[in-house]
């Protein structure tokens, strides 16, 4: 298991405590020129946690052991919580009368900005665990950088989320190692999962004009700056898991960040948004 960077910098607790209140003054929210890119970037964060949380929640009641069922639900709950914060802030930035729920439930697929890797079907536990790990390694690196964002609101959300994501990464790394090293079958399944997921990992590090705009303001790192740390974490864990780093192209599949999705997202949204779509304007 990789040794995780120390997250107990003195301001994390305080930052995290402020996240729920959402009242810190953030000059970036008044920057009209930045608005479209900032909004898009926040949707990338919130949509990725929303869709991954949805996929993980599909295991509820169907996991291989009760303990795992409960652990998966905790992860999904954390991710839904992050979604509320990211999309809540996105709605504030947009300032067009929408809220987190409207963003989640009333946008169509082409408006979603999540990474493709999170919308792939949950597959077996090997795919679920491997995806979680590949995502967590990125998520952890991203949130750690966001602690020093020039946007106090972003830094607060990151601090709150990082506490939970540190645990996600510990747990998913541990499971990857155990299942990779376990039986022949568990090793084969983990290899297979890695082969399926690998071509989707490159998208995490592709930097486009949105990333550049928020990076220029010091809100977030450029996406490609996270690659080295991610590769290091992944290499270390896969090595211990007796799994090889795939040779296939890591960036063969991309597009989620700009609204070009796989066929899977449409079905996921049809299910997730059903009630809001079927009964417009109703309160629940």
């Amino acid at each position: 298991m990789p040794s995780l960077p120390d997250m107990n910098t003195p301001n994390v607790e305080e930052l995290a405590a402020r996240a729920a209140k959402g009242q810190s003054h953030d000059p970036h929210l008044e920057n009209v020129e930045l608005k479209p890119a900032f909004f898009d970037w926040l949707c990338r964060m919130g949509d990725s946690t929303l869709i991954l949380g949805h996929r993980v929640s599909e295991w509820c009641g169907k996991a291989p052991a009760l303990e795992e069922d409960i652990a998966l639900a905790n992860t999904a709950l954390d991710l839904i919580g992050h979604t509320q914060m990211w999309l809540g802030l996105a709605a504030e930035v947009e300032d067009a009368g929408r809220d987190a729920d409207r963003l989640a439930y009333l946008r169509d697929a082409m408006k979603f900005r999540n990474l493709l890797i999170v919308e792939l079907p949950k597959g077996d536990m090997a795919q679920t665990v491997m995806r979680q790990f590949l995502f967590d390694a990125w998520h952890h690196a991203m949130l750690t950088r966001l602690l020093s964002s020039t946007s106090p609101r972003v830094a607060e959300i990151a601090a709150k989320a990082l506490k939970e994501v540190t645990y996600h990464l510990e747990r998913s790394s541990d499971l990857v190692i155990r299942l990779g090293d376990g039986t022949e079958e568990s090793n084969r399944r983990m290899r297979h999962a890695l082969d399926i997921l690998w071509p989707y990992t490159g998208e995490m590090f592709m930097t486009d004009s949105v990333d550049e705009a928020v990076a220029a303001e010091g809100i977030a790192p450029r996406a490609d700056e996270l690659r080295t740390e991610w590769v290091e974490t992944v290499r270390e864990v896969l090595d211990e898991a007796t799994l090889d780093l795939p040779k296939a192209k890591a960036d063969a599949q991309k597009g989620g960040k700009s609204g070009r999705h796989t066929e899977h997202l449409g079905f996921l949204l049809a299910e997730m948004q059903f009630l809001q779509r079927a009964y417009p304007g109703a309160e629940w």
Binding site: I70, N74, E164
Partner: protein
């Protein structure tokens, strides 16, 4: 049937707690996973707690007689608390 994960007894010392207290049991393949499962099952990840795990088979017991301890769910998951739901008084106790 393949081999069952062994049973572990879980002891937790809360943030302001004194001694570790027995909170229940769970199954896990080894001690490390028992600790992480205990975090998920018995603390719902509330921080600042210390967890001990002991294989149930390794416990030597007289006649036990401790009373069941209680644990609060994580503080920020307010929806786990009944008072989160505003139910009008007319409805009566729920």
């Amino acid at each position: 049937m393949s081999k069952e994960w062994p049973l572990w007894e879980i002891f937790i010392r809360g943030q302001h707690g004194l001694n570790h207290r027995h909170v229940g049991s769970l199954h896990a393949p080894d001690a490390e996973m028992a600790v992480s499962n205990a975090r998920d099952v018995y603390t719902r990840r509330k921080e600042g707690v210390s967890i001990w795990v002991v294989r149930s088979a390794d416990i030597t017991a007289s006649s036990p007689s401790d009373k069941g301890p209680l644990f609060d769910p994580a503080e920020d998951k307010v929806y786990r608390h009944p008072t989160f739901y505003d139910i009008p008084d007319e409805v009566g106790h729920m």
